[in-house]
């Protein structure tokens, strides 16, 4: 079966004001709204569109993390994923471990594509997709803004510093999604009801036989230096004058 694997991560919602804990041991996540990482939503949307064009038959969504992550898998199922895999672990997972886990799942699922967000908005690492491609020995097309599948190949336009780069890769391949690729669909209430009946399989991370514990040690977390409130001006003339005074005009 032509299958697409999409990995999603549960993260603090992009609209939440991030607060560092007073003791510097981390970022406050208790009682904070959690969501699917926005770039992963784009990854899922792209997989669904490829399936809707008849170029794939099944979209499998996977997440790695504690029990709470099931909420995000249900959201993904409501968006249209066919089934979900929950790799259950309470161990903090670094990108190399995530890539090793996904690599194991690929052995079983044999997808034509693995689509991931280009980065998670919590650790901002931007590593997992590339690491997965390396461990899989397959092509990577990162920061994608356009994906076209044709036969055994994908043509991917990438957002790079120089502009737009186009690559042709043989399938199977890993794609990571940039913001411009698509706009994810909204989930409708009937879809949420339907999603409750879709299959969600839980896999104990320890059963996969990969090294899970983090290598790096987070010593302390700090808030960045704060910007202070500046001056208020009364009209456009004063604004232009203030900019001139700062040498900005």
């Amino acid at each position: 079966m032509k299958r697409i694997l999409v990995s999603i991560k549960r993260v603090v919602d992009y609209n939440v004001r991030i607060r560092v804990k007073p003791d510097g041991s981390g970022v406050v996540t208790d009682g904070v709204k959690m969501s699917v990482n926005p770039f992963d939503e784009i990854a899922l949307e792209e997989a669904l569109r490829i399936k809707e064009k008849g170029l794939a038959e099944e979209v499998v969504v996977v997440t790695i993390g504690p029990a709470d992550c099931q909420q995000q898998l249900r959201t993904a199922l409501a968006m249209g994923a066919d089934r979900a895999l929950h790799v259950l672990t309470d161990v903090p997972i670094e990108p190399p471990a995530a890539a090793r886990i996904l690599r194991k799942l690929i052995d079983k699922e044999t997808p034509i594509l693995a689509i991931l967000g280009k980065q998670a908005i919590d650790d901002d690492a931007s590593q997992t997709g590339q690491m997965l491609a390396a461990l899989w020995g397959r092509p990577q097309a990162t920061f994608a803004s356009k994906v076209e599948i044709s036969g055994e190949k994908a043509t991917v336009t990438r957002e790079v510093d120089a502009g737009l780069e186009t690559l042709e890769v043989d399938l199977p391949a890993v794609i990571t999604t940039d913001l411009r690729l698509n706009e994810p669909r909204y989930v409708k209430l009937p879809d949420i009801m339907k999603a409750k009946k879709k299959p969600l399989e839980t896999i104990d991370a320890a059963s996969l036989g990969v090294t899970l514990p983090p290598t790096l040690k987070m010593v302390k977390y700090e808030a960045p230096p704060v910007r202070s409130r500046g001056v208020m001006v009364k009209n456009a003339q004063e604004l232009v004058d203030a900019l001139k005074k700062k040498g900005l005009l």
Partner: protein, 317 residues
């Protein structure tokens, strides 16, 4: 002792300044030996430029026809070959380095630190997370080889040294894949400055009310030589294209001047602009959160203020 390999970024002819910034980061590690590797089709010119930078002890020139375009799948096995014996492997946190370095790290079975903003020692680094809303200090266990991308905005470029470092040719023995092919690259198409790198940015929010009304911002931006951005609310409302989005889920930018017009200042937007040198906010709501971080604020109707600013600037020129 630390041995640091820096993967050079270049366009085939010129060394990208991001590489000299990586060298500055590496120099913060006391006693480190710094070696730059240039992977190119013909890297002689780039290698010569890298050899001029103070602090570089050697330059490795790795020529191969497959290196004409910087494809991570092609470069990664070569970087791994060259990285033998190095304790640290650095690349710039540009799209080049972000694409390549994790692939290298996975092949080396090494952890990676992304966006390093400070190297406090050979094993202690600082990096931003949550789009810069928190800074974390990270320790790498002793004896662990580490791969890192260096946040270019955090370092000045290392300057030229007194004498050029030696350049050594290295032959590629690693097997290279054929599954990834370069097709084309097109430069950013707009005749306006690129939003990501522009020194001036004019951004609009939901208060603009329509895509048509964004015209007043384009007009002002053209007068200022500025790029045009938008808040997520304006993008979601269809007033502006998705690639114009500034904020945590859009572009994170650090222009000299950021002019926020009709943007209330949702957290995710503020996250994208907090490294801007000067933030100017125009909003009819005096309580808008954008004013808490703006250097210059003006409460009023944007539809009268924006054209007036344009007129005043025009009169001054």
């Amino acid at each position: 002792m630390s041995k640091i390999l820096i993967v050079a970024e270049h366009d085939g002819a010129k060394l990208n300044p991001a590489t000299a910034k990586c060298i500055t980061c590496a120099k913060a590690i006391a006693g480190a030996e710094i070696v730059v590797a240039v992977f190119a089709a013909n890297g002689a010119a780039v290698a010569a430029q890298a050899a001029q930078i103070a602090g570089v002890s050697r330059v490795l020139q790795v020529d191969h026809a497959a290196n004409e375009h910087a494809l991570a799948a092609m470069l990664a096995p070569q970087v791994v070959q060259v990285a033998a014996g190095f304790t640290h492997v650095f690349g710039p946190s540009t799209t080049f380095g972000k694409d390549l370095m994790p692939r290298v790290a996975a092949l080396l079975d090494a952890p990676q630190l992304s966006d390093v903003m400070a190297a406090e020692s050979a094993t202690r680094f600082r990096r931003p997370i949550y789009a810069g809303n928190a800074i974390v200090t990270v320790d790498v266990p002793a004896g662990t080889r580490i791969v890192a991308t260096v946040r270019t905005a955090s370092f000045e470029a290392a300057s030229a040294g007194a004498a050029a470092a030696p350049v050594e040719a290295v032959a590629v023995s690693a097997e290279l894949p054929s599954h990834t092919r370069f097709v084309s690259v097109s430069a950013a198409r707009s005749d306006r400055p690129d939003l990501q790198t522009a020194s001036r940015v004019v951004s609009g929010g939901r208060a603009l009310g329509s895509a048509d009304n964004f015209k007043i911002l384009y007009s002002l931006a053209d007068r200022l030589g500025a790029a045009v951005g938008a808040s997520r609310a304006a993008v979601d409302a269809g007033y502006a294209a998705n690639d114009m989005q500034v904020g945590q889920t859009g572009k994170i930018i650090s222009p000299e001047l950021y002019l926020a017009v009709g943007i209330s200042g949702a957290i995710q937007h503020l996250t994208g602009i907090k490294d801007a040198r000067t933030i100017v906010a125009i909003n009819k709501d005096a309580e808008a959160p954008i004013f808490e971080i703006a250097d210059i604020g003006l409460v009023g109707d944007l539809f009268t203020i924006v054209p007036e600013i344009e007129r005043l600037i025009g009169a001054a020129n």
